[in-house]
Chain length 321, copies 2
């Protein structure tokens, strides 16, 4: 695992605005925590060895066979399971989420085949791969893994689970963490045709998903109002504000964006923002292919975003002055 | 993973007495669930990539360096991590917990070395390996893994964490699941010297332990009164009662015991007990080395235990009659 992921808020005290995590928190977690607290037997018994009951609900939601779904201990667990199962060479565009490379390099290549890992929308830049491109990649590679963790964070067109399951070569990854802003829970899932999921399933470890996560997942699926849908208009406004103070910001189709200062280091900016403003950003310099000047922010409320832009402007001016 | 572990209560309705799980539930889970519900930010942020804060508390408890501790997504995750790290040949006594074999056979052997896996106290029979035996095994094998999940379930002498960490070749596994009767939570840990834990740590997957599990673990460690300590006297009484109706019961030093009927199948007994008495036992016939006649029970309250003995006697009489 790389050091320095986003949302490293546990390292700091006094953070008032967290731009470091892409996760868009829209609603309170009180209802789900109250629900969990009301389930008396939740801790007393082992979870299902595999989260079959939640898989059945997801199958109904996506109108596919339950065998096409594997619930995992977060989307990261899904990534490692796929890498462990299909020991192919991997092609990983840069920059993207670091865990594909970490997972792929944890297991020796055994077959003369190639997996393409796509994050769609892509982290850290919020870029979308369109369906025509995905179809071309499906034809070009032995296996196409599409991490759709941020699928609810965009208006761009995503491949449906049904379409993915009809393909021979596509595996999709989904994330309750992102869907419902519950990163502390650890809940994700894989969807693919039954031949692919059967291979992955043989690597599943029993009870890897907690009873709390299974029950919370079922509760959340019954409450569509808890699905995160970030304010994409506000994100575009933040991007324009950052451009206006001289930051390079990549075009984005979601709530987060990849930024680059012309001269200063993201690490120094991060320290400054924590110390003087209680703001946390994602130093993006450790993404493969990026530079010390790169950082990532996810739009928050208009007031917080304006404060961020002002604070970054102060940082740059104080350094330049 | 094998089908037919114990505590498969999710498969049945109307179970009133569960003898199938070894876990001794002494206290209510309300305090820990109330505590979790009071931690507002628990779901909103990623857990620590590795559960460092809980590892520090465990290090203080056991008076060892924090580097000697790795918190895992349940003890089963610990077993797979060890098997993934040390690609040795494995020696696994039978009968014992099936996951050692499952984990070991998931990874190709790479080195001409041998690991001995001991479950102490042993599942399914409640047997204890004494310290002199463990010392001999430490000398005889390249690596000795001691799964001490049931360490609080016996009066027998266990190797301390400090002693284990002073050895070059010993890895111990511990289980919050068993310590505090919280199987739904998924929380366990590994202890060993720093050279061994460093090797295992390189296989850790980020965020594999949920924020809920980390926070609950810290809460439970502060409350010694929640540690499970089964009634071993009542367990011996149950054993005598079962012997008295003609069941072979292995000697045990804990609350659970391995039983064998002279003629009838454990699968049939299990079905009968579920259907007619709402009682769940562990059909132990799928343990490597056991027979269709083997089952396992964990002692419950005296009233429940008496009812179990009466129900088993009825079953045998009705079959013999």
């Amino acid at each position: 695992m790389i050091k320095g992921h986003g949302d490293d808020i546990y390292q700091y005290e006094g953070i008032v605005s967290d731009f470091s995590s892409n996760i868009c928190a829209t609603t309170s977690h009180q209802p789900v925590m109250r629900h969990l607290a009301s389930c008396q037997q939740l801790l007393s018994h082992y979870p299902e060895p595999e989260a079959w009951s939640l898989e059945a609900m997801l199958a109904a939601l996506h109108d596919v066979n339950e065998n096409c779904i594997i619930v995992t201990n977060g989307a990261t667990d899904a990534i490692y399971l796929i890498a462990e199962t299909f020991r192919y060479k991997s092609v990983i565009p840069a920059p993207t989420f670091s865990e594909y490379e970490d997972a792929y390099s944890s297991f020796e290549q055994k077959e003369d085949k190639t997996t393409l890992w796509l994050c769609n929308p892509n982290n850290p830049d919020g870029r979308i791969y369109d369906l025509a491109f995905i179809k071309r990649m499906e034809a070009a590679y032995d296996l196409l893994v599409i991490d759709q963790s941020y699928e609810h964070y965009t208006n761009g067109q995503m491949m449906s689970v049904r379409e993915g399951c009809e393909s021979k070569h596509i595996i999709q990854i989904h994330s309750f963490t992102k869907d419902y802003a519950v990163p502390g829970l650890r809940l994700g899932y894989i969807t693919a045709n039954e031949r692919l999921t059967a291979a992955i399933r043989s690597h599943l470890r029993p009870w890897s998903v907690s009873s709390l996560a299974i029950e919370a997942g079922k509760f959340l699926l019954r409450h569509d109002e808890f699905v995160c849908r970030p304010d994409l208009v506000e994100a575009q406004r933040l991007r324009q504000q950052l451009l206006a103070i001289g930051i390079d910001v990549m075009p984005t189709q979601t709530n987060f964006m990849l930024c680059r200062m012309k001269e200063h280091d993201a690490g120094a900016l991060k320290k400054y923002l924590v110390r003087h403003h209680g703001m946390l950003i994602r130093d993006a310099s450790n993404f493969h292919g990026l530079t010390p000047q790169h950082f990532r922010v996810a739009a928050q409320t208009p007031v917080e975003n304006d404060a961020l832009v002002a604070a970054i402007r102060n940082f740059i001016e104080s350094r330049n002055g």
